[in-house]
């Protein structure tokens, strides 16, 4: 910071206030934010959803008017080299902004799936931007596009130019977005949660590329994120926002290392830090400052393998047929789960981890009988489920309950919360009268620490974290013995995530629940799980206790997964062996079944494919 004080900043934001709406409905989305962005530096803006971080970045591009907002006061002074003068982005007319937007300041959005136009080729979308700003001919623009696709380390860049977005994977599309954002060599790159929608190993790849390119091209970066690990890896300076307001700013060492404000401290405390549990065997609650502290650790310290397991899964195989050709025959199969075997013991959390397409959700849905397996057996307290008649299998659905990822999508928007919560209990004949339903709803709401009068509200009146609590409450309606939590905390803000994880652990203790915790987030897994199973391309490649997996990983994929998690060490710039390309697909031709891995015992209860 000290050396920069003498040079005037590239972008200087002073007292920025953004408002939406008119009159009594006026909402202040950003309230008096000030910061400076210096050349070749990375400023991270962190905060939880709704804190106004994305709105601030849209203000810098002059895009607010398209979403109904306006800069009501403050300056956004940008040193434009195209215009050769300092421009106030808040006041500048649209023609001036158009010269700057995409040329001197460009942006990468969160969702790579939707930010490319699906009907144009990658090449034509890229050369459109280039010829617009640089006045190059079509073929020159194509050459330049190719150059930048190679710069973001995309293999086969030449062929990619003629490809359409749907032919690319998420990670590749995000790299195309970065190439597009950089192809006019902007002075400022705004990256709005660029890796949130991506898998960890792909995230590591993208972060690496952004860092490399920043060094090569000398771009300044405004990095918007809610992920403290990513921020600590990328940022020079950090600005913390909460509910549209400024909280604190400083270098990454100051803010993440010695936070001054309570909010920052709380935010950092809620971040699961991978490696923080080394040496402990039992799961541990998050410390949330200002929250009632649960001092007791979870009840089951280590997994008691002498007891009868709640659920045994043996050689479970689930495949999706892909039909094609003239005769509509099965030509390919997605081997979503191949010979998956594990047990879950009473009061235990088994984490099933892997990246998208690894088949972890398929395993969960097969257990919940949402998908028919191709083969394999499943025993609930020793009773074989798949061999039972249909009605008896239905009754088993009472014992396992599923909590989905999206808290917004998993409650029927047209039913009151109370109706939704008691429906499972009604299905299984546990309640019949209206009065019973009311009591049950109140009891369930209380279990997830929500007031009983919320039963009459509709789902849209709740926040994401509250809705996830509601989904958990619904899962508890039939007193199940196993809850399958499919990425249930992944969509939540860190502080809310910590609370929900604590709630899950508390319920485990009081109700003796078992969890199958399906997730991609290794840091949360370390907190919550007793045992961990790692899935890769439909097969379990390593399984063991949490300590065995985290402290002594054996399979190369487990090691890569653990290494890819960004660590909360300010200024630490990890050098990872980067995967070239993508995770291969589990789709295979019918006559080409996958090679089955052979799990070998590493130590007591720890098996890995070697």
């Amino acid at each position: 910071m000290s050396q920069n004080d003498t040079i005037s900043p590239l972008l200087s934001v002073k007292d920025l206030t953004v408002k939406f709406g008119e009159g009594p409905r006026e909402v202040c989305a950003v309230d008096g934010i000030s910061f400076d962005l210096h050349e070749k530096k990375t400023l991270a803006i962190v905060g939880e959803s709704g804190s106004g971080k994305s709105i601030s970045s849209l203000a810098m591009l002059g895009l607010l008017k398209f979403i109904g907002g306006r800069v009501s006061s403050g300056q956004l002074e940008f040193q434009s080299s195209v215009l050769g003068e300092t421009v106030d982005l808040a006041q500048a007319p649209e023609q001036v902004l158009r010269k700057i937007r995409g040329n001197e300041i460009s942006m990468i959005f969160q969702e790579p799936m939707t930010s490319l136009n699906p009907v144009f080729t990658i090449g034509s979308q890229m050369s459109e931007t280039i010829s617009l700003h640089q006045g190059l001919s079509k073929s020159e623009a194509q050459t330049r596009a190719l150059e930048f696709l190679e710069l973001v380390r995309l293999p086969n860049a030449k062929r990619l130019l003629t490809n359409y977005p749907h032919q690319l994977s998420g990670g590749m599309r995000q790299r195309v977005m970065i190439a597009m954002a950089l192809c006019c060599e902007p002075k400022v790159l705004i990256a709005d949660e660029p890796t949130t929608a991506l898998d960890v190993t792909i995230q590591a790849q993208i972060l690496h590329i952004i860092r490399d390119l920043q060094a090569e091209l000398g771009t300044s970066v405004i990095f918007i994120s809610h992920d403290m690990g990513v921020v600590s890896e990328m940022a020079d300076d950090v600005l913390v926002m909460k509910a549209s307001k400024f909280v604190e700013t400083g270098t990454v060492h100051q803010v993440l290392g010695h936070p001054q404000q309570d909010y920052t401290k709380a935010l950092l405390a809620a971040v699961p830090k991978i490696g923080s549990m080394t040496g402990t065997t039992a799961p541990k609650l998050f410390d949330i400052p200002g929250m009632a502290q649960a001092t007791k650790p979870a009840q089951v310290k280590t997994t008691d393998t002498a007891r009868e397991p709640v659920l045994e899964v043996e050689n479970l195989t689930t495949r999706y047929d892909i039909r094609g050709g003239l005769m509509n025959r099965v030509t390919h199969r997605v081997h979503a789960a191949e010979k998956v075997s594990f047990e879950i013991y009473p009061g235990e959390t088994l984490a099933l981890v892997g990246e998208s397409g690894s088949g972890k959700s398929t395993v969960g849905k097969t257990i919940q009988q949402l998908i028919e397996p191709a083969s394999g057996a499943m025993r609930y307290r020793g009773k074989d489920i798949f061999s039972l008649p249909r009605e008896d299998r239905k009754a088993f659905q009472k014992q396992t309950q599923y909590v989905f990822q999206d808290p917004y999508g998993s409650l029927n928007p047209r039913m009151t919360v109370g109706e939704s919560l008691v429906e499972p209990a009604k299905v299984h004949g546990l309640i019949s009268t209206k009065a019973e339903a009311l009591d049950k709803a109140a009891e369930l709401l209380e279990k997830v620490e929500l007031p009983a009068e919320y039963a009459n509200r509709y789902p849209h009146q709740f926040s994401g974290g509250q809705r996830q609590r509601l989904c958990i409450a619904r899962a508890l309606a039939c007193d199940p013995s196993l809850i399958i939590a499919d990425e249930s905390v992944s969509a939540l803000d860190v502080s809310v995530q910590a609370q929900v994880v604590n709630l899950l652990m508390g319920l485990q203790e009081s109700q003796g629940l078992s969890y199958l915790f399906i997730t991609h987030d290794m840091a949360v897994v370390e907190r919550i799980s007793h045992r961990v199973a790692v899935m890769y391309l439909g097969q379990i490649v390593e399984i063991g206790t949490r300590q065995q997996i985290f402290e002594n990983p054996q399979h190369p994929y487990t090691k890569r997964l653990l290494a890819a998690v960004p660590k909360l060490m300010p200024g630490h710039r990890p050098t990872r062996v980067l995967l070239d390309g993508e995770i291969p697909s589990a789709m295979r031709a019918v006559d080409d079944p996958p090679r089955l891995v052979d799990l070998q015992q590493v130590s007591d209860g720890h098996f890995a494919a070697l």
Partner: protein, 292 residues
Amino acid sequence: MSDMNNTSNQTWTHKVMASRYFCFEFIAGSLLTGTLVLVVLLSGVLFPDGGGKVNLVARLTEPFQSAEFFLGTDPLGRDILERIVHGGRVSLVVGLLSALGAVVLGTVIGLFAGYYRGFLDAFIMRFADIQLALPFILLAITVIAIVGPGIDRIIVLMIVSQWVQYARLVRGSVLSLREREFVQAARSYGLSDVKIIFRHILPNALGPLIILLTLNVANNILLESSLTFLGLGADPQTPTWGGMLSEGRSYIQTAWWVTVFPGIAIMLTVLGLNLLGDWLRDELDPLGKTRA
């Protein structure tokens, strides 16, 4: 004491203001539709002689001239007001029953086809394609030629030919709704398919259905008139709104009132139903209740 009165007064007005019925759509819609239906139901009392009385002396009387023929007369000297009131019986019955029948049939088929997919879905949808390709008039002429004309047959014919659009509309919504997590959640805790379809999927698919339904009522009133015109519908002596429109067509330049008044009757019916439909759609959507 006066304070107490004041507050109770306020809460009373507040209650009315906050009521779901206190909005333009509901009040205007139910007034319009209610009045029309009432008048049509009372047609026998208001005009006991059935609107068929020919009075060639008074042919093409202009409207608003006399109390006897307030809306004028048609080329045969029949009172237009009387014919509108009586004609409403056939028109409303045909329009409402055919649209309701089609919406029920189409929705049920669309719900099940979309939810279960597979062979049944493919079969029904190909059948629907074939039916859409057949011109309605051709179908109507063929069927009526076999079974003979009549109002009831027209209604059945309209239902049979119009369920397709509802089925397609509903099936489209179902295809996306069945993948939503709340539907999967309902399956995960063992709710039966029929309950999932009617409790979770149908309420979320109602919005566009209601809109299509209200538009269809108007279309069917007009369709009935073209069938009558072809001699396939009601007895030509029975007044209907559509029939009056087509009769008045050739006089439009000399006697506008013959066509304009039945046209207004159709328009008011559709307007009333549309307003009620809009209100119902908003009312069924919990998000709509938060409006200020």
